[in-house]
């Protein structure tokens, strides 16, 4: 159960992050978002 809640939280934040990267107009801000996104994707896929 805890793992499902955890997955939902990470998924929610990941979707927001992707949405931010798509809307953002400045390249360097997009790149900063991608650096954070990698961590979220690895957590989402439970690569641990």
């Amino acid at each position: 159960m805890i793992q499902i809640i955890y997955h939902f939280i990470v998924l929610y934040l990941t979707i927001h992050l992707i949405w931010f990267i798509i809307r953002e107009k400045k390249f360097w801000n997009q790149l900063s978002g991608v650096i954070v996104l990698v961590m979220f994707l690895l957590r989402l896929l439970l690569i641990k």
Partner: protein, 374 residues
């Protein structure tokens, strides 16, 4: 599509590629190296056969049993209690791949803490693997962590009170060699310890040897650590080794240091409990850059300097302390222990053939005695 949408898509693709590459590399730590047991292997079991609570858990591990045709003593050899101490692990693999037991029984667990093999110590920069060349092709082996993978056992308590009642720092709750005699309903590490205690009892083990390594600056090094019940055996072994020219010392297992194999195996079972230590450069705090080469050749300029300053407990020169020498030392000690056991208890004879000779291992290297990859 606007320009920033195109850059966003390209960057998302880059993120996916980074995830794929790093994820694949990271998950390689979960792969287990191939082991090719000798044709004289009698049975292969799992630790979970002794304690079903470990079944399908990352703590379950292979147990190789070699049985002779005649009755005799039973020897248990544990490698990989600490997966960052490769000489113990490789000695166990070397024996699994070569030996034939004519009398008595030999039980070998190369990956005692299987979970510890599935991650690396953070911030240490240790290599994930090292390779050893066999006569036809090289084989890789995992270099793991001293402790159980925190993914498998989390969080660490602030203070760990182990099954024997000793208070230790929280991270030690993931140290197999602080968790004996284990707990049936405890943490993963305690369950592994419990399974090993069950194995010792059920297989009526007469002699149990835990193979370790330690940093060259650590005082208990090139040593036989013994439980008081095994004092006589340890002294005979010491004399045999010293007559063979092996520089080794004895260390009595302290009665007030609880949770360790040499203490709890002796206290909670009828076995003769012994722990062997060799000096591992790649394990030490004074080393330079960690690498697979350092694990194998054991050469390090910092340690040379430390030896010149008299800071080490073992001699250390430009030749370092290579893996082949450490494995050879473990093999010589095991041979002397088996012969000592027979000297003390003639009905506990364990006759093992095809054990690579320590001298040959030191000269030809470990790989010469490993089976080629299939």
């Amino acid at each position: 599509m606007k320009r920033h949408h195109i850059t966003a898509l390209l960057l998302l693709l880059l993120a996916a590629l980074i995830c794929y590459y790093s994820g694949r590399n990271f998950l390689k730590m979960h792969e287990e190296e191939a082991v090719y047991p000798s044709s004289h292997l009698t049975t292969k079991k799992r630790l979970s056969d002794y304690f079903p609570g470990l079944k399908n858990s990352p703590g379950d591990s292979s147990v190789y049993i070699f049985e002779g045709q005649k009755e005799g003593g039973t020897l248990l050899i544990l490698g990989g209690t600490h997966p960052n101490e490769p000489a113990g692990f490789i000695t166990a693999i070397l024996l699994v791949e070569n030996i034939e037991v004519k009398q008595g029984r030999v039980i070998i667990v190369p990956r005692a803490n299987n979970s510890g093999f599935m991650h690396s110590d953070p911030q240490e920069g240790n290599p994930q693997r090292y390779s050893l060349g066999t006569p036809s092709g090289s084989r890789w082996f995992r270099y793991g962590s001293r402790l159980t993978n925190p993914i498998h056992q989390w969080p660490d308590p602030v203070l760990y009170v182990n099954p024997a009642g000793q208070k230790l720092s929280g991270t030690e709750s993931r140290n197999l060699n602080r968790s004996y005699p284990g707990r049936k309903h405890g943490s993963l590490t305690e369950k592994i310890a419990y399974a090993i205690m069950r194995l010792i009892d059920e297989e009526k083990t007469d002699l149990a040897v835990d193979l370790h390594e330690a940093a060259p600056e650590y005082p208990v090094i090139n040593a036989i650590v013994f439980h008081e019940n095994s004092a006589e055996l340890a002294v005979i072994t010491l004399m045999t080794l010293q007559m063979e020219g092996v520089d080794i010392r004895l260390e009595a297992s302290p009665r007030n240091l609880r949770g360790l194999s040499h203490r709890e195996w002796g206290d909670f079972s009828k076995t003769h409990a012994i722990l062997l230590e060799t000096a591992n450069t790649s394990h030490g705090r004074l080393k330079g850059k960690p690498s697979a080469t350092l694990i194998i050749n054991g050469k390090d300029k910092n340690y040379q300097k430390a030896a010149q300053l008299g800071r080490l407990f073992v001699p250390f020169d430009e030749d370092g302390i290579p893996l082949k020498q450490r494995v050879s030392r473990h093999l010589a000690s095991l041979r002397a222990l088996v012969s000592g056991l027979y000297e003390l208890y003639p009905d506990l004879l364990i006759q093992i053939q095809n054990v690579p000779s320590p001298t040959d291992v030191e000269q030809a290297g470990v790989g010469a005695f490993l089976r080629p990859p299939k």
